[in-house]
């Protein structure tokens, strides 16, 4: 379903995600700055890789961006809703952008809003929503055009355990009923342990381990996934680089309009 080999981006990342299988929930874990978000951006056509090959559902995102875009849904790490629009209007706009036409559109929006518990608030502007409601709306939106793959980049960050629990249940439901492949990242190891069929752990831009949660635990002799994760990636805290050189690079990127 997803294949990425010898992938590089100028700041030196190097990734090889081997073959995410169709219909599975695949967790992509790693410390801050390991290259998770960059990899997702490259898979979702937002960044061009400096070199290497990627295939999403057999297609190269660089050569066929629009074909690839039709096939995936994404929930970004940062919010990406229009707060001035209502929940329903956000979904309608998404449906227009992804060519989900009537009569299927109305029914699909209704089904998803109901599943994610937002149907009663559909006519309210998103700016009146809580963090959990926004996240649910974004995930509902990701599923709207019945994608083959859904990318979830740290979807549960900052949410309370109740919301997180419910959210994963809903994602699992859709994964089973619609056979959507789910590619997720998270820092909550117990979530990955519970939800993911298979896990890849990335560190310094490299995959250091890949397998089912049970396999990873067995491999490292750990009781929990968190222990396995620490055994594989070490205990050192990763500071995001903010040296003068990095700030300069940031400035240059700002003026060139890139991030």
């Amino acid at each position: 379903m997803i294949l990425a080999e010898h992938l590089t981006k100028t700041f030196g990342d190097l990734v090889a995600v081997r073959d995410v299988r169709e219909g599975e929930i695949f967790a992509f874990l790693g410390p801050n700055g390991a290259g998770k978000t960059t990899t997702i951006k490259m898979l979702t056509t937002l960044l061009r890789p400096t070199s290497g090959t990627i295939a999403v559902d057999g297609l190269d995102p660089v050569a066929h961006p629009n074909e690839v875009r039709k096939r995936f849904g994404i929930v970004f790490q940062d919010p990406s809703l229009d707060e001035e629009l209502t929940a329903y209007e956000n979904l309608e706009l998404h449906a227009a952008l992804f060519k989900v036409h009537q009569p299927a559109r109305g029914a699909r929006i209704e089904m998803l809003l109901k599943l994610f518990g937002l149907w009663d608030r559909r006519a309210d502007r998103v700016k009146t929503f809580s963090g959990g409601m926004r996240r649910r709306l974004e995930i509902a939106r990701g599923f709207l055009h019945t994608p083959k793959i859904l990318f979830l980049d740290e979807p549960t960050i900052g949410l309370d355990p109740q919301t997180r629990n419910q959210l994963w249940t809903q994602v699992r439901t859709l994964n089973e009923t619609e056979r959507v492949t789910v590619f997720l990242t998270t820092h909550y190891m117990e979530e990955a342990d519970r939800v993911a069929h298979r896990i890849a752990i990335i560190d310094h831009g490299r995959i250091v381990a890949q397998g089912s949660p049970a396999e990873l635990k067995r491999q490292t002799g750990a009781d929990t996934l968190e222990q396995a994760f620490l055994a594989l990636t070490g205990n050192a805290i990763r500071e995001e680089e903010t040296g003068p050189a990095d700030q300069m690079r940031q400035m240059v990127r700002m003026w060139r309009g890139r991030r």
Partner: protein, 248 residues
């Protein structure tokens, strides 16, 4: 087409829903009308140039359209920072379509704001030669709006955040306004100033508006239209190109 329509509609909804923004954007033109219009009015008349409000109205309307349009374009930075841009960039729609939807929406908002100011100008004594003048004025407003929304989009595509915004306002947008002859007649301006105005696309917009609502023109209406259409097309092309190159 449907995507363009939906993105256009989004801009309009955002405009109508932010009443504070509409009112805030009216403050500046009203201040110019009242302070300059009534302040300089007597001097203007003594100099034999006629009624200053009559002269100033096209300039203030042009200014309103200019500022609203540039802001609409620059709103892209907002979308980039608050995330909505990503939603449009991963859609299976050519970037050109997205840019067009945004630009048409932004331009419509700018024209609406310009018409609102025109109504206020009536309240302070401005008079139109005839009803047809509104149609011509709307045409010029539309061209100014398209041109500068595209200009704002082009700028926002190369600026990743608001840090460069003040720079752009002080060194690009304000000069475009002040050098356009919106506040003073170019015919009597010193040669150097009039020459600089030749390079300012807004000068042709204001001149066209003035021709539409007051019958007087400095460049001639055909030149105005030709320059406005030409620079709108050029800025739309530039905006589309820069927008298509955005990476996140």
């Amino acid at each position: 087409m449907y995507v363009i329509y939906m993105l256009w509609l989004r801009q309009l909804k955002r405009y109508v829903r932010s009443r504070s923004r509409i009112v805030a954007a009216l403050g500046q033109p009203v201040l110019y009308l009242v302070a300059l219009g009534f302040g300089f009015g007597p001097v203007f008349r003594k100099a034999g140039e006629g009624d200053y409000i009559q002269f100033l109205t096209p300039g203030v309307v042009g200014m309103t359209v200019l500022f609203t349009a540039v802001f609409s374009g620059i709103e892209l930075i907002w979308d980039r920072q608050f995330g909505f841009l990503k939603e449009t960039l991963v859609a299976p729609v050519p970037r050109l379509i997205i840019m067009l939807g945004r630009t048409l929406g932004g331009a419509t908002v700018a024209v609406a704001q310009g018409l609102l100011v025109l109504v206020i100008c009536f309240a302070v004594g401005f008079r139109l030669p005839g009803p047809g003048a509104i149609a011509w004025a709307s045409l010029y407003m539309t061209l100014i709006a398209l041109m500068f929304t595209a200009f704002g989009t082009a700028l926002a595509s190369v600026l990743a955040d608001f840090q460069g915004f003040q720079l752009v306002m002080n060194f690009l947008v304000m000069p475009i306004f002040f050098l356009s002859g919106a506040l003073f007649p170019l015919a009597d301006a010193p040669k150097a100033l009039a020459t600089v105005a030749l390079l300012d696309p807004l000068a042709y917009g204001v001149d066209g508006l003035r021709h539409a609502v007051a019958g007087a023109s400095y460049f001639g209406p055909l030149t105005d239209l030709a320059v406005l259409v030409g620079s709108s097309a050029a800025l739309l092309a530039l905006g589309s190109y820069l927008f298509s190159r955005i990476e996140l």
